[in-house]
């Protein structure tokens, strides 16, 4: 079983347990796509409300470029800093402790809030299906049940968790392809798509396209989670770039197919507020088989995403606790299952409470903005990484091409997406920034005193240039 790192012995001494290197590029692909694919089933369509159907398509490709830059940069750094904690560990070694603390929180918040949104989709989908058959269903027990069951799975072990994720993610992806084949008539029968009649011009002009960038992130949000597997892959230098870039290509294809089918079947105003647009598209095609397939696909995609989010959020929280950035109590590993069980259990009620705040817009914005802050960090992290350890000074698993073009493009697209967030959720943006500022001050004034200094640097690298 691939497990996380340290176990705390009864004596209080920490014993380092090496991770099993059993994963290949396919597993990395499954982890990244598993977290993200739900974005095709729900969430991306809010960009249609912001900028119309064409605006959402432009956002899909522009944000796709942003994430391609993320994947390129992340592949180089992760294949070199192949350690648990992902970007948090990278920040700790390359930028410094306060940045690492913030990056750890970005990961925890982005994934925990995405998990809450995923569980809400499961509840809403069951409610919608029950309503179709004239029954009323309270979705809340299903939301709690989903989170609790997945947390139990995560508690019992990472191997089974990711195996389940692979199967249900593959199913959800195939469901999108089958829907596309059915809708276009490639799979037999004629095309049922009505683009000519349903598509309209940009309803808000180009400012709407800019505004759509915010929810365009939903197509890909979380692909950077692949780096959480860095310590468990057989060859980080091969598996991380292949798995991550392969995952990005898969998502670009899935996103384009999703947009094409949904915009050809659903009026844009409805599409812009739909909870489960792909399932709605299947309903409109009048095929019971497709409806059932997309119902299961939506359910599986949401469950796979929530599952991956629990995995990644708990590991980020665990990694911070292990370094004492957060209370050390959460840094324990289960003696039998070798999972960060306290971190997993601690985040369950928090995810449930996020789901029940009634502030879904705010929760999703918090998740997106936390991700965006993380991508902004990546743009200057790679510049500093190349400066402190120039090419040839340490062994890199992968060197991404065209540096510094990807980080410049990434920085510019991040700035455009901040502007998009300002357009739709300006007050929320400021309140979330206030959170990160306050919590940073709290870390500097109170929390950092509990952190060991030199022991944070664990990579076998030479002294960084200039320090």
């Amino acid at each position: 079983m691939g497990t996380t790192t340290a176990a705390t012995a009864a004596s209080g001494k920490r014993e380092k347990i090496a991770l099993l290197k059993v994963l290949g590029p396919v597993h990395v692909w499954a982890l990244g796509v598993g977290i993200v694919l739900v974005g095709e089933y729900m969430g991306w369509n809010f960009s249609v409300a912001k900028g119309g159907a064409y605006g959402a398509l432009i956002a899909c490709w522009v944000i796709g470029l942003l994430y391609t830059c993320v994947a390129m940069i992340d592949s180089e750094v992760t294949s070199t800093v192949a350690a648990a904690g992902g970007q948090y560990t990278q920040a700790k070694h390359i930028i410094g402790p306060l940045m690492a603390f913030n990056v750890g929180l970005y990961l925890v918040m982005a994934y925990t809030m995405l998990e809450a949104a995923d569980a809400l989709v499961v509840g809403d989908l069951l409610k919608a299906v029950a309503a179709q058959y004239g029954a009323e269903l309270d979705p809340r027990p299903f939301v709690v049940l989903t989170i609790a069951l997945l947390a139990w799975l995560n508690y019992r072990g990472v191997f089974m968790t990711l195996t389940v994720n692979f199967v249900i993610t593959a199913f959800a992806f195939v469901a999108i392809v089958v829907l596309f084949l059915g809708a276009t008539g490639i799979g037999g029968g004629g095309s049922v798509l009505l683009h000519r009649e349903l598509l309209v011009d940009l309803p808000y002009g180009w400012i709407g396209v800019l505004a759509a960038l915010q929810f365009g992130m939903w197509y890909y949000l979380g692909i950077e989670g692949t780096c959480q597997a860095a310590e468990e892959v057989r060859s980080a230098g091969r598996s991380i770039p292949l798995g991550t870039m392969g995952g990005m290509m898969t998502l670009l294809i899935a996103a384009s197919l999703t947009w094409y089918v949904c915009s050809g079947l659903i009026p844009w105003e409805y599409l812009g507020q739909a909870t489960t647009p792909l399932y709605d598209a299947a309903r409109l095609m009048g095929s019971t088989e497709l409806e059932v397939l997309l119902f299961i696909g939506t359910l599986f995609a949401a469950v796979a995403s929530a599952n991956g989010c629990i995995n990644d959020a708990s590991r980020a929280w665990f990694s911070m606790a292990r370094d004492r950035y957060m209370p050390h109590w959460f840094g324990a590993v289960h003696p039998r299952y070798r999972t960060p069980y306290r971190a997993i259990l601690f985040l369950i009620p928090i995810a449930v409470s996020f789901a029940f705040t009634g502030l879904l817009d705010q929760v999703i914005t918090f998740s997106i903005l936390s991700g965006l802050l993380g991508y902004t960090f990546m743009s200057f992290n790679i510049v500093r990484f190349r400066r402190l350890w120039p090419l040839g000074s340490i062994e890199r698993g992968y060197v991404h091409p065209y540096h510094p073009l990807p980080c410049i493009v990434l920085g510019l697209l991040c700035a455009a997406t901040y502007f998009a967030t300002y357009l739709g959720y300006g007050t929320s943006l400021l309140s979330i920034m206030a959170f990160y500022i306050l919590v940073s001050i709290w870390f500097v004034l109170r929390r950092y005193r509990y952190v060991k200094r030199g022991e944070q640097f664990t990579m076998p690298w030479p002294r960084p240039k200039g320090y």
């Binding site: 306060l98 659903i266 009026p267 409805y270 959170f435 005193r449 022991e455 002294r463």
Partner: protein, 133 residues
């Protein structure tokens, strides 16, 4: 590793509990702040004249109308969805404030991180007497 390594104090259980609560309290506060401050997510502008609830008034062509009906909607139930419009007004002062907050945040984090990072490197690799070329 430096012999004079910093030895952090051991934090008791209550302190750890309080620290976890502080972070959580700040998260919830920031989630509620837009409501408390009167700002709302996805502000929309009311249309000046509400159209009557017919598909024609909602500017839905026959194909759109058919799809709405397949989705279980009538002109009355579709009206609040169709007439919901976003307002993309840009207020220079609020945009300036937002930019300033984001820039100040990263400046603060990077500045403090650099100071802490030097401490980490000096403890990990030993103090350097001169600057590296």
């Amino acid at each position: 590793m430096d012999d004079k390594a910093y030895r952090p104090p051991v934090q008791k259980g209550l302190g750890q509990f309080v620290d976890a609560l502080v972070v959580l309290a700040l998260v919830y506060l920031s989630l509620l702040a837009p409501l408390l401050l009167g700002g709302t997510a996805a502000e929309s502008a009311e249309p000046e004249q509400k159209p009557a609830a017919t598909w024609q008034a909602l500017q839905q062509n026959p194909t759109m109308q058919a799809q709405w009906e397949k989705l279980g909607h009538t002109p009355e139930t579709a009206e609040p969805i169709v007439t919901r419009k976003f307002s993309y007004d840009i207020e220079p002062w609020s945009l300036g404030l937002t930019v300033a907050v984001i820039v100040a945040y990263f400046f603060f984090v990077l500045r403090v991180s650099d100071r802490e990072y030097r401490e980490v490197i000096n403890e990990r690799f030993g103090r350097r007497t001169g600057r590296e070329e």
